[in-house]
Amino acid sequence: MICQRATELLPEYLYGFLKGRQRQEIDRHLRECRHCQVELEIQRRALLLVEAVQPVEPPVGLWNGVRERISQPEPPLSAWRRWFVATFRKPINAAGGLAVAATLVAAVLSDPRPPATPPRPLPFPENRSAAGYLHQHALIEARLPLADRVALGPVVTLAVRQNLAHDRSVENGE
């Protein structure tokens, strides 16, 4: 399957509308094609965003209010607004203003400092096995060349202590 065809079918794939051979073909293609995997992820995120939006009911009387305001005479512009309209009505001035704004936005976005917000803490599981798995996983990582074994020690130790604490609380019926 070529990427163009796969990309066309991805929305149906995401919604689960594809069945049988077509779905298998997409599955196979996605396993092999990094480009389409990324495309699928983008579409999946977009779908999640769309799904997250709650429908909003307009307040009662909104349309009547809008009609009423349209029919009212336009209020006189303030001095600042008059200056703004006069200045940016000319295309060259508007383009210059946009360029300055784009430069400021780029400067803010390209700030090389690391993000200030810490990672959102996820719930710590009251789970003995997961902590045991972490212990095992960390020991395996400690075997790899270039591993930071000094940093892995505390992780391994606390994971096992958590195991023991969990065992004791289960034994005590807590």
Partner: protein, 347 residues
Amino acid sequence: MSPSRARFALVVGGTALVLFGIVVWSQVMRPWRAARLLEQAAAADGKVPYRATAKTKVLYGSDVLESEAKIASDGDGKSAIRYEGGSLDGVAMGNDGARVWRYDPRAKRVYTSPPPISATSPLGQKHVDLILSNYRVTEEGREDVAKRPAYRILLTPKQPGANSRRLWIDRETNIILASEERDSQGHLVAKTVFDSIDYDRPPSPKELKAPPPQVAPRKRHSERFIGVKFTPAELSKEIGFTVRVPSYVPEGYVADGSYLYHCPECHETASETRYTNGMDSFSLFQGREVCDAHGKGGHVSRVGNRQVVSWKHGDDQFCVIGSLSLEELKRIAASLPGGSAAAPQAR
């Protein structure tokens, strides 16, 4: 050709040559040099005798753990790390050449696991090659660490979602004097910095010895299989259920084998199938009656500094754990039986 034209051609040609040299140096020679530094650092691990003190910071759950440690290496493959102060006081880890041991004074127990992979062995070389194929290695500059001049090397993952590393490598001995790990968002996961290092006083054998355990370790009925590499099919026969493997594996990761996992505390047995990109790894655990706190609906958590996705499917309990991004772990989960139902709820 007139003299002025010849002079002009000389200036243009010279400038082009200098620019070409800069491009070759920055695009070819510098990465090549950084990769060689990394190889030398991997090869020096365990081969240089020293004593050192270090401070380490590591993310654990939502907390940052800080501890101090004394490190000793005899240059012959044996080493020991002893933690001092705080809740880790008295904890020690070491490598006696045949196994990795870890002692916890609270548990009064010595835990053992297979020894580190030597970078000079064929398996170790394979791991170093994997690192070089999965990370862009760049030399960022030079800095002093523990009063020693060091190269600062950055390892940027080529695949999204993996953690980056920064290493400070001693310019004379190639020992790693500091190490920093950040997740794909740039948040610190772990950092270790040597405060001091002494190459002139090698440690005594006593300093490298594991403390004797006061509590005898429980006997493990499958002890002979610990550390033995199986194929999934072989392990399925041994463990009594079909060991599953994910159909999606992130780019750059290769299978490292399937192993029998035996919980040292509760004797529960599970299969562990490991994948690595040379620097990081993720493991898929599969067992029966092991993840009792996790329901069928799927569960995502952070254990220590690692993300975990776990779920139940029929009689099987699955748990994927690794330093990959949560998105990647969920994709791995989704390629396993029942994992697609667990992963969306786990977002």
